[in-house]
Symmetry: C2
Subunit: 340 residues, 2 copies
């Protein structure tokens, strides 16, 4: 029996040789429907490829996958823009996957990226991520991986983060410098290094200035506008004496600010408020919200550059993993400055 050739398939389907060849090589210019038809015909005619399908080649796809909790916040969308800028300039496409802070979806996202044959994965882990097993597996299998903002410290994987301790310290010291003494802190109840570090910065700033760290002035929950409101309600209901609020996230700070104003408490004259993340709305509200900027675009650019540098080297995981730590920048606005 004569061996089936690409010409036979082309004749059978009344398409060109080139269409069949490209379909067999999974060329993106050929539609899924055409590929299906070519495949079906190839099978029926018992066609055997001489070379392995090019989709099995180990070649690069020039596509990078980014895992983020959510792009709702200015923070992540701005970091991602920074990554995209550098990646696009270097001829890479960037695909995004939102986990919604869910471990199951995070796992699904990584599988999807591997299935999509990305060259590497840039990830900011979800707050549900605990076992780290999934990332350890990626690392073990030599898939190029880089953490940004939220890293798993225990894994030997390169990362770009900000100094959250310093951010929490600066925000608290700024409030102290403005004359506030009894500073409440609202933070996440989830075990994320970024929030633990901001809390540590808050505590150390208090201690440095001879102020007590009071556990009953620390409120925890899922950071949100709602958490800010309920925390202030609790502060007031429990009769706590406090004159400032440092929230570890801007929406939470905004909720605190709104609740204070609703209770007729003047901000910043009676109570000072500082948030964290420099969300877009902070400059628009009244009083404008003091916050900590995380150099988002720079973080994105550094993330992309570090990845490209390592990816361009012979061995991605060859040396000790590089960790870039950026300094946050305090943005004092009206909500924390009674006299300005």
């Amino acid at each position: 029996m004569k061996k089936t050739t690409i010409h036979d398939i082309a004749r059978e389907l009344n398409v060109t040789f080139s269409t069949v060849a490209r379909a067999l090589n999974d060329h993106p210019a050929i539609s899924v429907a055409t590929k299906a038809a070519v495949l079906e015909t190839a099978k029926r005619l018992n066609y055997q490829q001489n070379k392995l399908a090019s989709s099995l080649r180990s070649g690069r796809t020039n596509v990078i996958g980014i895992i983020v909790p959510s792009l709702d916040t200015s923070f992540f969308s701005s970091v991602v823009h920074g990554i995209e800028k550098v990646m696009n300039e270097n001829g890479y496409s960037v695909l995004l996957y939102q986990t919604g802070e869910s471990l199951t979806r995070e796992q699904k996202g990584i599988e999807t990226f591997l299935q999509s044959r990305v060259d590497g994965v840039l990830s900011s882990v979800s707050s549900e991520t605990d076992g780290h097993e999934m990332y350890a597996q990626l690392r073990k299998r030599q898939v190029p991986l880089l953490f940004f903002d939220r890293a798993i410290q225990e894994l030997p994987v390169p990362s770009v983060t900000i100094n959250d301790y310093q951010g929490g310290f600066s925000a608290t010291e700024h409030l102290i410098g403005q004359g506030f003494r009894r500073i409440a802190h609202i933070t996440s109840d989830q075990n994320l290094t970024i929030f633990n570090e901001r809390l540590r910065g808050y505590r150390e700033a208090l201690l440095k200035h001879g102020l007590p760290f009071q556990e009953d002035l620390v409120f925890r929950g899922r950071v949100s506008l709602e958490l800010g409101k309920t925390s202030v309600q609790q502060l007031l209901a429990q009769g706590h004496s406090f004159d400032a609020v440092f929230a570890a996230e801007d929406y939470t700070a905004m909720g605190a600010l709104q609740q204070l104003l609703e209770n007729g408490i003047r901000v910043p004259k009676e109570v000072g408020v500082v948030g964290f993340a420099n969300e877009a709305f902070g400059a628009f509200v009244t009083p404008s919200l003091s916050t900590v900027d995380q150099q988002t675009v720079k973080m994105g650019e550094e993330t992309a550059r570090l990845f490209l540098k390592l990816f361009g080297s012979k061995d991605y995981y060859g040396t000790n993993p590089e960790h870039i730590v950026l300094d946050p920048i305090l943005i004092p606005r009206n909500s924390s400055q009674p006299v300005s």
Copy 2:
């Protein structure tokens, strides 16, 4: 010469049969590095596959690609959450690609999705998209495609949009109902149906209420905080008599509002302001910003459901393309209600 088998490759690499088989089938659980090693060995030993690589099968990947201008805005990020919700419930993964309103990047995004073998593309076209050639090609090649929010009307492609004409009409009629008579309009200078329709709604509402449509009260540019500011500066510098501003987008409305306040003009007592899109910050600012809500989550859910319905049918493009049009909802807040 004995024919090379998978066992030969496995022995050569000291890995399991299953690893080689899965590597040859491009299984996502196998690392890129292992696949490369398997491929290299397969080539060297002159291994010939009996069946076509499964990556060439026409089977579904259960991955959907979404093209959006940018996820910076509450609008798109909220629509995308709606899409993800329904898609995830139905076992699909969702990959995102931001075009930054650039035609080149949009093209790149579509190529990347095809290369990643998505089952379909959901797209909100960038403002630079003009020729529509690229989408016409997708349609022609039977790639499942669906437009949301920003559609190319001329193409026979299903879509989910909102009634932008109605949104522009309601916003303008609301201002007229509040006693405003000389209403300026700030809109995009880019040829996007959504903005053209909002402008048409503005014009028709004026005419319905016996008010003149004045071209010199219409300002055009790239919608942004900056455009809102400069438009109000021009209105004031040119000595135009106006008592309200309807901006076709919330950041633009916010810029107008800020500029009015900076010039000591009271909002809404002297000038009323209405935006469009119901961005998150609108409820936080002072005065709170009246706007038009686009039912974003619902739009996302309808988009996903329509796609799944068509994708589940035998022929995606079989019947006349379905177009779902959602009604926008006016959200009157303080910026447009002098007496409330």
